[in-house]
Amino acid sequence: MKRTLIIFFTLLVLASLVVAAEIKLDVKEHMLPNGMKILMIPKPGVPRVVCHIYFKVGSINERPGITGLAHIHEHMMFKGTKMMGVTDSAKDAEIDRKIDELMDKVYREKYWKADGGDKVKLAQWQKEFEELVKSEKPYVIKDEMWNLYMKNGGTALNASTGNENTGYYVTLPANKIELQMLLESDRMLNAYFREFYSEKDVIMEERRLSENRPGYFFSEQVNAAFYAASPYHWDVIGWMDDLKKVTKADLLEFHNKYYVPNNCAAIYVGDFDPQNIVQMAEKYFGRVPKGPDVEPIRTYEPPQYGEKRMYGEGPAATSLQMMFHTPQAGHPDAAPLSVLASILGGGGGGFRGFEPGPKASLTAPSTIVGQRGGGFGGGGGTGRLNKILVQEKQLAVSASASSRGQWYVGAFQFSASPRLDKNVLPEDLEKEIWAEVEKIKKEGVTPEEIQKAKNRAEAMFIRSLGSTSGLAGSVGRAELNRGWRSILTDYEDLKKVTNEDIKRVTAKYFVKDNGLTAIYKRKMGR
């Protein structure tokens, strides 16, 4: 019997030990018959396990009219299932159906009519809506899933949505992984979206929080101008109009299309026996039926054919941004661009195996930082731009560069803030950066600079292996795009970068017709 078991697992678990230089990343893989990938990184020690699930869906899978929906959906996944969060699911469903029918009328009146509809009618419907919501309350068990995780010692509990993927996170005691498998497979199978309309209000508040950050509106417009056609054009949070008008029907369509096992990967990092994980995954995730194949996005960014410039002013610090279109992660030019960002930007290194991080979360994140970008490069103490512009010429208070190798399109960005006490303008820094770029096109960079970037990448890679949740995030996300081994091949590519490569990519991508320059000036006080 025991032997059968061993053979069984030898067949099912493909242990993949990949060695990059002397560094090992040991990920065990298992594919369920329904196409769901289970990844495991055992780390014996403290009896806790990081449990993440990533779905290959994000804001780039939206279209005008439903922007922000991937993130709304992520919030709604915590609103219960047919089994969780409800006392009598039949009675609850009956009321929920009435709410949806009523809100369909409201939306048609309010949003389809140019004058905003009949105010009297809308007020009456609003009252009916409030009555229905009140009558549903006795059947709703608030946040039952969340409570169960907390009660069982779940920490780092959160979810987040990025441009390209959506993740659901919890870290549990090692003896309670089965709880995660049960709850997560249940919401893949039986998600039921209660309290949709009040949750949209929550998300609009989340958007307002961003809006009140100095410089947010300008930065949102810069991004939209930079990406004219590709769905990276809108922020993960979505446009306010769409948040208001998106419907329950849109949500269900989105869920059915993207939340299928063949469009996701689960990853476990911590103190466990992989055989147990596989057994449990077969049992719980294995019961979710395979869905139709998901088509990748269609619209990439077309060539720009003209320089773009934007000017703005407001309460944020005076600054300059220069952005250039670059290829997606995995393209042969991506590694030289990463090394260049590390050389110019200094503080961030060039290892790009780590996929860009999430951008909008379920709760104000404590451990998972959701911020724009997730680039590689940095604020740069020893970077070339800092040395020249901050230390030697004393024209800037900061100067950095970063390279973002996203899944479908890339971006390289220079950022700098001028010395106001010396009356330096952002335009002055722009000239200085162009001069440096032109110099690199001709001469390239020094061998020491390249070696430093490579050393930094190596050390950063090793450090990344020490963080359980960071590792789960990078391996899980990478799996959905080019496979988790791309972390290692990207790292290998980076080690091969030469000065000729740097000169080539600088000449190819840093031309005015391929970029956008954004100049922002601080206007005193709000």
């Binding site: 403290v46 009660k151 049992k283 309460p315 006490d421 930094r456 050390a459």
Partner: protein, 486 residues
């Protein structure tokens, strides 16, 4: 086909025999017991010849080494005319160089090795942290101790740091969340060492001599706890460190004395005008110290009130039920040697500012008035017990936890007894501490937002805000001059 079937049946039989039947609902799940004893700080503690204390743990999982020095020095120890020295020191401790090396050379070398060397001054501790590959241990340690012992704060880098910080000062009134936390503390603690702010003048007045004097005063072996974890042999590392610090002299330092008496602000509404579309709100008063025996009961109480995210009452009511906000809750903050603050918090659109505040105040009153539910107690206590091992996940987190415990003078068996103290909290105790540490007649409500729409309110809660208490309009100060903006 037959073979597949046999294997299939064998697997099925195995699953059943191993008790692996699929649970249909969470209550069907049975978890095997899990025992975890926290590590003993004594196992890691080391004393060096000249009195430097250390916590050291070997960890050979990765070829990395992390070393930190935690110094008993912080911004709190600065006089009013030297405000900003903490930030300037953070920016120049490394970049300002040492007696024998330029700062840029140190940074360049650390960066070339793929390492990191960072320095940060906090309220009462300053920390220098090194991370290098284990092959670079000797060079890394050399740079680390050179900076720690011989920092020189040269003029050039010092001036660049001052320019950057002064430029940052201009933004100090633009971020609503930053303005709220700064002004809330100022209201609760009054003017004093805990709330003084730097200005352009105090930054400009700071000299290299000031920084050297502070360094000479506080940076000596007996005033520091060292932590080291990673891929080394403990005895070897210890010997190397002893060599670096052999000639490092101890000093006598007299720490400034601080009053723990703070002015009681007049209860009511404190409004700060900013033309934004939400109100950023704190509601509360001073809290307690984490050395208070009630600390554990307060943790449990606050989890239920507003600290336990979606498992807490404020989040359930304000966010889930009403859709008023994305971020809300309650918190007790703690600071070494002083009572921290207690606050309910929320950010909500201007028209629902008053309504959200009223809902949070209702929850303050309810937890004082009524006993909490068994289910709420169960979730809160189990959360703390079951998540406990998470504090010790990495060697680095283990030893820095212990070093901080020793630095702040808390008992070294804190973690050993932690779970017993949490388990001992009862419903009656929760209600007792709710009444003792949430004081409705002392509440101040601070709002950063747009006055007109906030004061007007909405359908559920029409204004004015004066319904919540006497309204005080606060004028911010110009961050560059420290003068009130009229």
């Amino acid at each position: 086909m037959k073979k597949t079937l046999t294997i299939f049946l064998a697997i099925g039989f195995l699953c059943v025999s191993l008790g692996l039947a699929q649970a249909q609902k969470p209550s069907d799940l049975k978890f095997s017991p899990l025992k975890y004893d926290p590590p003993d700080p004594k196992a890691f503690r080391t004393l060096f010849a000249n009195g430097l204390r250390g916590y050291i743990e070997e960890d050979h999982n990765l070829p990395l080494i992390n070393v930190s020095a935690i110094v008993n020095f912080g911004g709190l120890y600065l006089s009013k005319d030297k405000q900003g020295l903490d930030s300037v020191m953070s920016g120049t401790m490394i970049r300002g160089g040492t007696k024998t090396k330029e700062g840029t050379a140190i940074e360049e070398r650390i960066d070339f090795l793929g390492g990191s060397l960072n320095f940060m001054v906090g309220e009462r501790t300053a920390t220098l942290s090194l991370s290098v590959l284990s092959k670079d241990l000797d060079e890394g340690l050399g740079l680390f101790f050179d900076v720690l012992m011989n920092s020189e704060f040269r003029e050039g880098p010092l001036n660049l740091t001052k320019v950057r910080l002064i430029q940052q000062l201009r933004q100090a009134n633009e971020q609503p969340s930053g303005v709220l936390s700064r002004e809330y503390e100022k209201l609760l603690y009054g003017e004093g060492p805990l709330t003084w702010q730097p200005t352009q003048k105090t930054y400009e007045g700071l000299t290299s001599a000031d920084l050297k004097a502070i360094h000479a005063q506080y940076f000596f072996p007996k005033n520091i706890i060292l932590t080291a974890s990673g891929d080394f042999v403990k005895a070897d590392l210890k010997a190397k460190i002893e060599k670096h610090i052999a000639n490092w002299q101890n000093k006598n330092v007299k720490f400034p004395a601080f009053s723990k008496q703070f002015p009681q602000p007049e209860p009511g509404v404190y409004f700060i005008q900013m033309p934004i579309n939400q109100g950023y709100i704190n509601i509360g008063h001073l809290g307690l110290e984490d050395t208070n025996p009630d600390y554990f009961a307060v943790q449990v109480m606050n989890f239920i009130l507003g600290g336990g995210s979606f498992s807490s009452r404020i989040t359930m009511k304000v966010r889930s039920d009403e859709g008023l906000s994305y971020n809300q809750g309650s918190r007790f903050s703690y600071r070494w040697g002083f009572p921290g603050t207690f606050s309910g918090y929320v950010q909500t659109k201007s028209s629902t500012v008053g309504y959200a505040i009223s809902l949070i105040e209702n929850e303050f009153n309810r937890i004082r008035r009524e006993s909490v539910l068994d289910a709420e107690m169960d979730t809160a206590i189990n959360y703390y017990l079951e998540s406990f091992p998470g504090s010790f996940e990495t060697a680095q987190s283990r030893i820095s936890t212990f070093a901080n415990l020793e630095m702040t003078g808390r008992p070294m068996d804190y973690y050993k007894t932690y779970r017993d103290k949490i388990s001992a909290v009862t419903k009656a105790k929760v209600q007792e501490v709710a009444n003792k540490y949430i004081l409705p007649d002392k509440l101040v409500v601070m709002i950063v937002g747009d006055w007109e729409p906030s004061n007007k309110g909405g359908e559920q809660w029409p204004g004015p805000l004066a319904k919540l208490g006497k309204v005080h309009r606060i004028n911010l100060r110009d961050p560059l001059t420290g003068e009130e903006i009229k």
